[in-house]
Symmetry: C2
Subunit: 274 residues, 2 copies
């Protein structure tokens, strides 16, 4: 089973990985790993090398699999490079309370955008607007996303960071402005189904509003990996970016943490502490 870890180096024959330092890698669901320093999934997709942590200062090591790791860089590159947001534009984020979405919305605020988050509970919504400074929140379980969006984004949507896919995304596309940009990070709405779910086709708004939609895997920006981490760390230190983790303790609880993440029960990055 895939899964990124922050691991302590216990033994080493590789001078690039000194004993006592911490390393981030896709070691999977294991307590101990023997690694040659290469990446497990190199044959599937070019991922970054395992890397030894730079000094996080007072920040927790777990940030290495969250805001200062893959999810943080997914938000940083996937939002900025694909959506190319401009100050004053309106940005919508679905899966807004998740590891990636909560960072995307905060980066959008840093860039001077109006930010609307979509998530599945009012508790998450309260956290997004009160703690993370989102301008609006839509609860897709209790509100009509299409109609509510018309009210909270009367000027239309310029950028959409899509974590979920499905009908919610179709409704948002139908509220977008000319030359709007859609960054597709995931389609969690379809992950629990055995067949691919159906939703209203996207081609009409794509044509009429001349939208641009792009899907991405964050490892596309492997060669700029440290840029994202350093910028996010700087924003955390300046108080502009807040990290959030749902920490589960105990290796034996990994399955529970994973299924709760898919069910949308967590806020921010799902971390298991062993």
């Amino acid at each position: 089973m895939m899964g990124d870890q922050v691991a302590k180096i216990l033994e080493s024959k590789n001078p690039k990985f000194p004993v006592g330092k911490h390393v981030v890698g896709d070691f999977g669901w294991r307590t101990h790993t023997v690694s040659n320093g290469n990446n497990t999934f190199d044959h599937i997709i070019k991922k970054i090398d395992h890397y030894v942590f730079s000094d996080f200062g007072k920040l927790p090591l777990s940030y290495g699999v969250g805001i200062l790791g893959m999810p943080g860089n997914t938000a940083y590159f996937g939002f900025l490079e694909v959506c190319k947001p401009k100050a004053g534009e309106t940005v919508v984020v679905s899966g807004a309370a998740g590891a990636v979405g909560s960072i995307v919305g905060q980066i959008a605020k840093i860039k001077g955008c109006k930010v609307i988050g979509i998530a599945g509970s009012d508790e998450k919504g309260k956290w997004l607007t009160e703690e993370l400074n989102f301008d609006h929140f839509i609860n897709y379980k209790t509100q009509n996303v299409f109609k509510t969006l018309k009210q909270v984004a009367p000027k239309g949507v310029d950028c959409y960071f899509d974590n979920v896919g499905g009908e919610i995304s179709s409704m948002i596309l139908n509220n977008m402005n000319l030359y709007g940009r859609i960054s597709v990070s995931g389609a969690v709405s379809g992950y629990n189904d055995t067949s691919v779910p159906k939703a209203s086709i996207v081609q009409n708004p794509m044509v009429f509003q001349q939208l641009k939609m792009e899907g991405f895997v964050v490892y596309r920006w492997s060669d700029r990996w440290s840029e994202g981490i350093e910028q996010n760390r700087k924003w955390i230190e300046e108080g502009k970016l807040k990290a959030q983790e749902t920490v589960t303790v105990g290796f034996e609880n990994m399955f529970k943490a994973f299924t709760e993440m898919l069910d949308g029960k967590n806020t921010g990055k799902a971390v298991v502490k062993v």
Copy 2:
């Protein structure tokens, strides 16, 4: 009702439009039009100005609403600018026997691509492969698009020019290669429905293959309008590009021609001759 015309100038108070010359404009479903030379839909979208025909030589005037007009430029700019095809790549065109699709496929061949056309009758398919030099044809009414595509495009699809939307498009997206490009020109599959049709969500292939999808309206390239017309005319004169029209005679038959076009009964540009 909207509709482009090649009209002869009968009277004129505007020296830019001399009597006896021909002019192309969105005059709608009318036999005679009084125009100040500005465009009817300027308030909706910036369209090109009405323009007096340049010399088409031996080519028929009706090409001005087809291969040497809006449909020709839709193919030229919409395919080349959005898909950015490279020689050796595999290109799929849906609505391949239509006014735009039939030109897109031929331009793709000129650019050295392998071209697969999708349409709704074997007669159209025969025309595409035998007359227009398409490499393969898929009849979406009698063949499984997903499976047939696996056979005729074993290396996967790099560019998709989408005229139809709907399930066909979802199936093609699931056959695309890393960094594939999708140019969305229309969604004719949805035009006859009173509600927006549903189809398998596109977000999964968008993410996994890091695809880029862009919708467009051809008037985006208004400032380069004559470039497309001149290039297409050059290709026609060189024998690399063939025009096709389904001509209906008589103003009273416009409605019939229009509904048959929507039903997919025509090949190439639907023209009504008055």
